[in-house]
């Protein structure tokens, strides 16, 4: 028996991103397609950044999660076009990022507000942060540093 694709999406939404475990791989927008090809479940995954070391861990985590649900034949396909964009982050994912202390991406090119105190008096420390997908910012009001999930 092959589980319904919609059910599989809900299972994938429980697979955490290895670097930012508060959001799922579905929240991150990197799962592009889920479909059955005969008896094999094919999942198209797109990398966030081309050198992101989490990519192979994500593929393994997806396979493990599905194996635990009884899906034995899984093929993970890397799909690079169209390229991943932060526009694909879910609204749920954005809210979770903020609660976790990471400012979600904003079209303005910088964070809207400090994820800790809400101040809008902010300064950029570096465009490159602790992982490829984040920049390093500082709040001038509460003086705390924080990560900003940068737009690409």
């Amino acid at each position: 028996m092959t589980p319904d694709v919609a059910l599989i999406w809900t299972w994938l939404d429980e697979v955490p991103d290895p670097e930012i475990p508060v959001i799922s791989v579905v929240d991150l927008g990197i799962v592009r397609d889920v479909s059955w090809r005969d008896e094999t479940l094919e999942i198209a995954v797109t990398p966030t950044y081309s050198g992101c070391p989490a990519t192979s861990v994500i593929a393994m985590d997806i396979e493990t999660a599905l194996y635990d649900r009884g899906v034995r034949n899984v093929r993970i396909k890397t799909q690079i076009a169209p390229p991943w964009t932060t526009d694909w982050l879910s609204d749920k994912g954005r809210a979770k990022l903020r609660d976790y202390g990471i400012a979600p991406p904003s079209p303005a090119g910088g964070p809207d507000a400090c994820p800790r105190c809400g101040s809008t008096d902010l300064s950029r420390v570096s465009q490159f942060g602790s992982t490829p997908c984040k920049a390093h910012w500082r709040c001038n009001t509460c003086l705390e540093p924080f990560d900003y999930f940068k737009c690409i």
């Binding site: 950044y49 050198g51 992101c52 076009a81 465009q127 490159f128 602790s130 490829p132």
Partner: protein
């Protein structure tokens, strides 16, 4: 030269540029002047190595002899590499590293913009992906060159020295040969000489803000991207990068 041979050669150039520069930049890991710059350099190196995996992976597919991106990176010697001379030049001080990065990023951004419109879908897809990352690279390297050029007397002196040292390696980026011409005519790659105008506009503006003087010297070293004559530095780089495979052939984990 067949179309396939030209395409293979061209992909090696793209992948070897990002591989060799990625390795060079990674040499700073743990040594940069401040922590934020260390992280930024490591992130840039990571992007470049990631792009290498895509370019050299595609090169292996095109060649059709079962070679992987790792095989190309670890099991070739100097004469097989097709990177520009600029990217194999030593790091020097932090300013020299950032000047090299800025000159390459300015070229890389325009090259990838052209390749994103390639008639070859595989190349267009990789270029579109890489372009997003390189947009951040060129922002950072140009800001840093401006900050250090228009900085203290000491930083200004060092940036001008870096520019004078590296300028003779700029010309090779825009010098087309039979491979570039064949790929351009097939609609796969942009016209290199046409990219030069955009590069000059961007670099002139950066240098103006950085209060640096563009060298009045059109001489261009060549021989990197054809593999005919690399500088002495590439061989030394490879002894480090390929050390593990040379000491323990076939090692895997």
């Amino acid at each position: 030269m067949t179309d396939r041979d030209a395409l293979f050669e061209y992909l090696l150039r793209l992948g070897d540029n990002t591989l060799v520069l990625g390795h060079r930049v990674s040499e700073w890991c743990g040594h940069a002047p401040v922590l934020e710059e260390d992280i930024a350099l490591a992130n840039t190196a990571l992007d470049l190595i990631g792009q290498t995996q895509m370019w050299l992976g595609l090169a292996g597919d095109v060649e059709g002899e079962g070679r992987s991106a790792d095989d190309f990176a670890m099991l070739r010697d100097v004469w097989d590499f097709r990177n520009l001379l600029l990217v194999e030049q030593p790091n020097g001080d932090f300013g020299q590293t950032m000047m090299r990065q800025c000159l390459f990023d300015a070229f890389h951004f325009d090259l990838l913009s052209g390749l994103a419109g390639s008639t070859d879908d595989r190349i267009a897809a990789i270029a579109a992906k890489a372009l997003k990352e390189v947009t951040y690279h060129v922002d950072r390297s140009s800001e840093t060159v401006i900050g250090l050029g228009d900085g203290t007397e000491e930083s200004h002196r060092r940036m001008q020295a870096a520019l004078d040292l590296l300028w003779p390696y700029v010309g090779e980026m825009f010098m087309p040969d039979a491979v570039d011409t064949a790929l351009h005519e097939a609609g796969i790659a942009p016209d290199l000489p046409a990219l030069r105008a955009s590069f000059d506009t961007r670099i002139d503006e950066i240098l103006r803000q950085a209060t640096l003087v563009r060298p009045d010297n059109a001489y261009a070293h060549s021989g990197g991207k054809t593999g005919v004559r690399h500088s002495e530095h590439l061989g030394h780089l490879l002894t480090q990068m390929q050390w593990l495979q040379r000491a323990y052939p076939g090692a895997a984990w």
